[in-house]
Amino acid sequence: MSLFLIAALPFLGAVFPALLIRAGRNAAASSAGFTTLLAFIGLMLHAPAVLRGEVIQASVDWLPGLGLNANFFLDGLGFLFATLILGIGLLIIIYARFYLTREDPMGQFYSYLLLFQGAMVGIVLSDNILMLLVFWELTSLSSFLLIGYWKHLPEGRQGARMALAVTGSGGLAMIGGMLILGNIAGSYDLTVILQHKEAIQASPLYLPALILILLGAFTKSAQFPFHFWLPHAMAAPTPVSAYLHSATMVKAGLFLMARMWPVLAGTPEWFYIVATTGLVTMVLGAVIALFKDDLKALLAFSTVSHLGLITMLLGFGTKIAAVAAVFHIINHATFKAALFMSAGIVDHEAHTRDIKRLGGLRHLMPITFTIVIIASLSMAGIPPLNGFLSKEMMLEEAYHTTWLGSHWVIPGLAVLAAVFSAAYSFRYIAHVFLGPKRDDYPTTPHDPPAGLWLAPAFLVLLVIFIGLNSNGVAGPLVSAAANAVIGDDLPYYSLKLWHGVTPALYMSAIAVIGGLLFLSQHKRLEAFWNALPRPEAKVIFEALVNGLVRAARAGSDALHNGAISRYAAIMIVFTTGLTYAAFRTGTLAAPTRSVQEAGVLPVIGWICLVVATLAVVMKHRNRLLALVLIGVVGLVVSLSFNYLSAPDLALTQISVEVVTIVLMLLALNFMPKDTPVETPLGKRLRDITISIFAGLGSGGLIYALMTRDFAAAPISEYHLANSYKGGGGTNVVNVILVDFRGFDTFGEIIVLGIAALVIFALTEAILGSRVRARLLNRKPDMPRAGDAHPLMMVVATRVMMPLALMVAAFIFFRGHNLPGGGFIAGLIAAIAVIMQYMASGFAWASERQRFFFHGIIGSGVLIAAATGMGAWFNGLPFLTSAFGYIDWPLLEEFEWATAALFDLGVFLAVVGAVMLALESLARFAWQPGMETEHAMDINPARDDVAEDEKEA
């Protein structure tokens, strides 16, 4: 199966549980299970090749310019992790089906789980570090959803947030590190980077890259001091904990360290950072785990400790230690997943996972007891189970490693951690299952149905088999994975139980005896531990986050206080300052063009413009007057466009003006007609100064621009030359819109449609709130006129409607060759309809509305898209336009271009968007069901008939 398909399957499958949950929980679970099984089988088909040492690759150049390629490769390490992810994922899916209750939304659960699974598979199969980063962030996001799955629990939400904050910020650091790494190696492909060990380690940027990448790995793998998120993530449902914290999420960090091991490891920096962090984490996690009463918390800290162990092994930088690390990854995944699942079983059956309230369960839950005893003993490192083997290898390596010249630090601390590790493993058995049977369990516990214990039982079978026949069961996998990490020349190692009387054996014996001793003294130790002052990670984290939030808020509140005048002031001051700086530091060439003579007409227009603008400033407190003056400004601007040979712009401007003024009139209906003086004089003076400077600045800029030739030849020459030849139209503006920059236009009509939909949605939301009642009870601030729909206006607008639509059609059809086009035609058509709304009333107009504006917008976008796609069928790029000439008798020869169809899409989208926006705003005043005074019918006699009928 293609690697693409293996990586994509979980993502594709994520859709099914969410849909199939309607067909029942079994359907949802089995759809998730079969997807995973399929991916797993696909992976296993590659097993023979990978175990032979081959590397399977699949690649597609996605964005080669950015170095972002969709490259996947499967080597031993990726195969090991993918096997764990998909295999344990399958078990978790079965387990979760029986674990989750009826109240839990199971479809959602499996969708999240598959998303997460896909992201994890993506990480381990990626050959491109940019892709890897994308998947890395995806795991942070999807694990956030999984950890916070029980949304009603505050612990769940807090835990999810904490996990996201810690792993997400680590991921950000890692992006930096990866980019540095890619830069040094000259490629973002992992396979290339992995061959540049010398260049990377010699680079002065090696240490920053190392630290940044390790930050990402450490946060993900819960290494000290970032370990605190993992226990809090235990608020998730147990299947999530079992999946995330045994086999996947936290192992992603380890995977990354193992993946990068060939290029990053082997330096003193690597050794001291990684090995020390791992060591500290291992000891700390083991010590804390012993004193946790919550079963899952115990397992969480034990996970932290084991992650520390593996990190330390990778940190040693020796080949044999890397082999041990790989082996322990397998072993830890098997026994820890089994333990998490059994903790879930205890919780599920006894309704508590507080160790202090449990004990004596061995008679009540014999199957669970058997599972737990095997998995725990493996975790404690008791032969002949698999945990013993890898722990032995770890101790052996620790024994040979010196830290800052000391032979004792690492072995001593490793033994200490092993002692605590054995102690908490024994405690899990002794305090939960051994001891006298109690009669105060929250419910009577008993063994669960097979669905719950089959998955962990399968895992403990693996625990035993790997322990007894490690070479046979896990040997090929370990050697393939280790090969991928350390290169071809594997050191001599043997995965067997008996290595003779070695120091590691003594250390193991000490660990077991010490563990038993600690367990017997648990009460005293616990009292001592509780008396110790300890920093509470959650409190520190919350304080840190709150501090950051306060700091961010202080910054953003000062800038974003909700006053539009402040935003405008900030933006304008900044822009003006920037432009001034550019002006001062740059050079200004001498003017190459002379100033032209101005005729009488332009001067009159200019005077109108200036007077109207000044009048707006003086009279802006009277809003109605300001609106009239703005209309004057718009009119003069349109005229000047026309004068300056831009008829398209003029047409657009004038129709936009009309629509805008109508829109503002609508808004003004709900607002006071005057604005009081609100700002103090100082502020107004400040604003005046800013605007004067900005105005002079932009005026000067435009003057400078217009008195000089452009430094580079403008593109307009190209457009002029090719508009008729290539686009089949003589109206260059229209050809630019529908052809040269058709894709821009396509995007713009989508944006326009979205904006209209947003206005509609906001109106809906507002009208759904208390505002609706207030609007209905609104007392107008001015006396209402008696006849809302004056006869003359109604008649005139109805006469105008066909005329206006005719004009719109005319403008539309001539658009390709003469001023006009879909956009202007759309505005004119919208105005034709708006007139009806204004004159005859909202109720009258909407009664006669056949098509919803949403649909008009959508059809416009779809028509434009379909036109664009039509080019594909002719083997041309999207939106290439075709045109030809048709000669029908009686009519002049006329042109038929696909651009006209595209323009039709623009037309419809514009009509729909403008109408939807205006309709939404109008609905503040009118709402469905409200009877307004009826405008006259086309035949007024019909009104009288209707009235008679009503009365009768």
Partner: protein
Amino acid sequence: MITLAEFLIAFFLIIAGIFGFVGSFGLLKLNDEMSRLHAPTKATTLGVGGVLLASMLNAAVVQGHLSLHELMITLFLFLTAPITAHFIAKVHIHLQESRDTLPEAGGDGLWATHDTPADED
């Protein structure tokens, strides 16, 4: 023929100029709002109308082609000018006058602008 046409064109232009001027002057000079309303409506209809007639004649006779744009402009003017005047009058009645200051409306009893639902209650 051409001379006659030119004479007519000049005539229409002068008419248009006079009415345009009178309209603007009246807008400034007249005291009462209702009276002032009359001035600009004359200016738009007769003043602009004169220019349009002149333009059509000029195109047809002097330049030798038919131009009908002006008819459209006339149509739109005839549609919009009365409505504008009508609205200005209504606003005046609405804001400045009360029922007592207005003459009787006739059969229906009230001027439409004052015929608000609140009054019926």
